[in-house]
């Protein structure tokens, strides 16, 4: 009889020790959020333009993690698709043309003489890159503008142009080291460009 009791106690003890180890490990190696979504989100261009059919880059990152195709992002273009393919181990697909085509990066420019100060473009801007107040002239913070085109449509006097920008020796900058927390684009470039 005592043999059985020893056996049961030994196994119980073993199980209890292992349970304690696993319990500690599950606390120690706790995963917060879904890191894959964060990694996908970091690759997306953060234009928040909605051309993929989602309300922003983050929701699209979640959708990709859940299996949606990763070629619905026209602003990111081919480079983003390749980076996503590498991250996710999926095949490199051509950009899905239903969602738009890859264009050179643009920034919005408000012809200030024509602006009537209606604030409609401010409300449309997903990244708060337009400055202005009611009945005052508006203007665009070039560094913050992601070139998403969303402000062009609501303007009642059509005074917003999308100007393509190219990286010139003057506008080129080093990529600063990425901090742990999210910054606005101006901070990432180390200050406003003159």
């Amino acid at each position: 009889m005592s043999v059985v009791i020893t056996a049961v106690l030994a196994l119980l003890g073993l199980a209890a020790v292992f349970g304690a180890i696993l319990g500690y490990a599950s606390e120690r190696f706790k995963v917060e959020g879904d890191p894959v979504v964060d990694q996908i989100d970091a690759i997306l261009p953060q234009t928040q333009c909605g051309q993929c059919g989602h309300p922003g880059c983050r929701p699209y990152a979640e959708a990709i993690a859940n299996g949606e195709a990763h070629n619905h992002c026209p602003p990111g273009g081919e480079a983003t698709i390749i980076a996503l393919s590498e991250l996710l181990g999926r095949e490199v697909l051509p950009l899905d043309e239903e969602h738009g085509e890859e264009k050179p990066r643009t920034v919005a420019y408000i012809r200030e003489a024509e602006c009537i100060g209606c604030t409609k473009c401010i409300q449309a801007c997903p990244v708060d890159a337009i400055l202005g107040a009611a009945k005052q002239m508006h203007t665009v913070i070039v560094d913050e503008c992601t070139g998403c085109d969303l402000c062009v449509e609501p303007c009642p006097v059509d005074c917003i142009d999308m100007i393509p920008i190219r990286t010139t020796p003057k506008s080129w900058h080093w990529d600063l080291p990425q901090p742990g927390h999210r910054l606005i684009a101006t901070d990432l470039r180390g200050g406003l460009q003159s």
């Binding site: 043999v3 073993l14 199980a15 292992f18 180890i21 490990a25 879904d34 991250l87």
Partner: protein, 193 residues
């Protein structure tokens, strides 16, 4: 030192767990479709096999033997292996979410990889000491990884090869595995005592 080298050569080539002793065939056929997943699976299995080999040895030597409970080794080893796998899963999930996604269901399936239990039981049978057990487990994992990666590289090529209709898919995989097994049995005369 020679002894450890002999154990390594023996487990990796001569007595390869997959192709000569036919243990752990499930992940061998299941995860070998892509080289990348095969590589991840190899890493996870190497870690689990070595660790579980050591842990099983310790459990046997310092818990079961003193209490005269050697007959409980199978169930105790299964417990040890399950815990090690679970632990590995947590670590992988924390350190490499991508690998975690790629491995998916196969990570918990290492629990049922009979090579893992096989190594633990064979350690007892061969009366290995601590270091020998560790090297034996590591060698078995190396052999498993080698074969798995070789096989998946072959299957990636097979996917593009012009295989006769009835042999496509798993069938040609099985035939390839058989041929590889034949080749590995050729290592039987590698070391002469």
């Amino acid at each position: 030192m020679t002894e450890f080298a002999l154990i390594l050569v023996s487990t990796v080539l001569v007595n390869n767990f997959v192709l000569v002793q036919f243990l752990g065939l499930c992940p061998f056929m299941g995860v070998s479709n892509k080289l990348e997943t095969a590589f991840g699976m190899s890493l996870a299995t190497t870690f689990v096999l070595t660790l579980s080999s050591i842990c099983s040895y310790l459990t046997y030597q310092y818990l079961l033997l003193p209490l005269d409970l050697a007959y409980l080794r199978t169930i105790a080893f299964i417990l040890v292996i399950a815990v090690v796998v679970q632990f590995t899963e947590m670590v992988v999930r924390k350190t490499s979410p991508l690998l975690y996604r790629v491995l998916g269901i196969f990570l918990p399936l290492i629990t049922t990889n009979c090579a893992v239990l096989g190594v633990a039981l064979l350690n007892i049978k061969a009366k290995h000491n601590f270091m020998e057990s560790a090297v034996y487990g590591f060698g078995a994992a190396l052999g498993f990884s080698l074969v798995l990666i070789l096989f998946s590289a072959m299957r990636e090529r097979l996917a593009a090869a012009d295989v006769p209709e009835p042999f496509r898919g798993s069938a040609i995989g099985m035939i390839t595995a058989g041929l590889m097994s034949l080749a590995f049995m050729g290592f039987a005369g590698l070391i002469r005592f």
